[in-house]
Symmetry: C2
Subunit: 139 residues, 2 copies
Amino acid sequence: MAAATSITRAHQIVLGRINQALLPFDLTFSRYEALALISFSRSGALPLGKMGERLQVHPTSVTNTIDRLEADGLVRRVAHPTDRRATLAKITAQGRLRLEKATQSMVEIRFGLGEVPEEPTVQIANTLAEVRRSAGDIS
Amino acid sequence: MAAATSITRAHQIVLGRINQALLPFDLTFSRYEALALISFSRSGALPLGKMGERLQVHPTSVTNTIDRLEADGLVRRVAHPTDRRATLAKITAQGRLRLEKATQSMVEIRFGLGEVPEEPTVQIANTLAEVRRSAGDIS
DNA sequence: CGTCAATAGTAGGATGTCCAACTATCTGGC
DNA sequence: GCCAGATAGTTGGACATCCTACTATTGACG
């Protein structure tokens, strides 16, 4: 139970710090993650469904996230070239700019890890990998 | 960044499993945590503010949680004996029964850790302690 | 080549979390 | 004693998440 509690608390702490740091950019961690994911794709656009898979969130959550990013002018919904069911979220120039600034801030706060040194963070990723493996999140 | 991502994903996975297991008892992890906390107190009752401190959540979250537990008959709001500002959440007999059953289920799924062996879970708690220490969550 | 199951996305409703603002009560300094 | 500031809890609003149910489109099998 100590492990489960630790994960919950660590998550609260890290997420809280991250969202605090993203506040000036009018972003949240969900929106930041989504924006970053899109920007990493070669064409700068991704079908919403694919995003849900990658981020491991429900399709309705993606809809919500993209709604907000689009309202803020950071992405644009465009039609999928061949599949008329699908919608692509395409990052805008403004979106890339905002993402870049936000990422600087993320790096400064070390993605919520704060003053925790490098070595322990590697440990954390490694030990939690066990949990993620058990759920098929990673192989 | 890998560490931050790992914490987020592990949290999603563990919380998802826990809430799934609590579904038959009409509980969520928040409500389960709150109920357990109250039951551990000597008198079986706690001021809402104290609960917020212990669980590290906002006062309004406690209000919400207790609202639901009370609506389900698992706790009852009673007046604080000396401080008329404060309200105590007191666990009911039905609450203790429900908690007991839910706890059995929690133990069975090892609090969401599933098939992860004992040793790695200890590792997880230890490595994440670093993050929690950095936020003053633990000493 | 036509029907029907599968897939992509969205709408509505529930829960949990936070923040800002409010009411009620307590407490300490004058 | 009294009044200002602190404290306890709630209310209303914002976000993120999930689930169920729905529409539109695709694709596969008879």
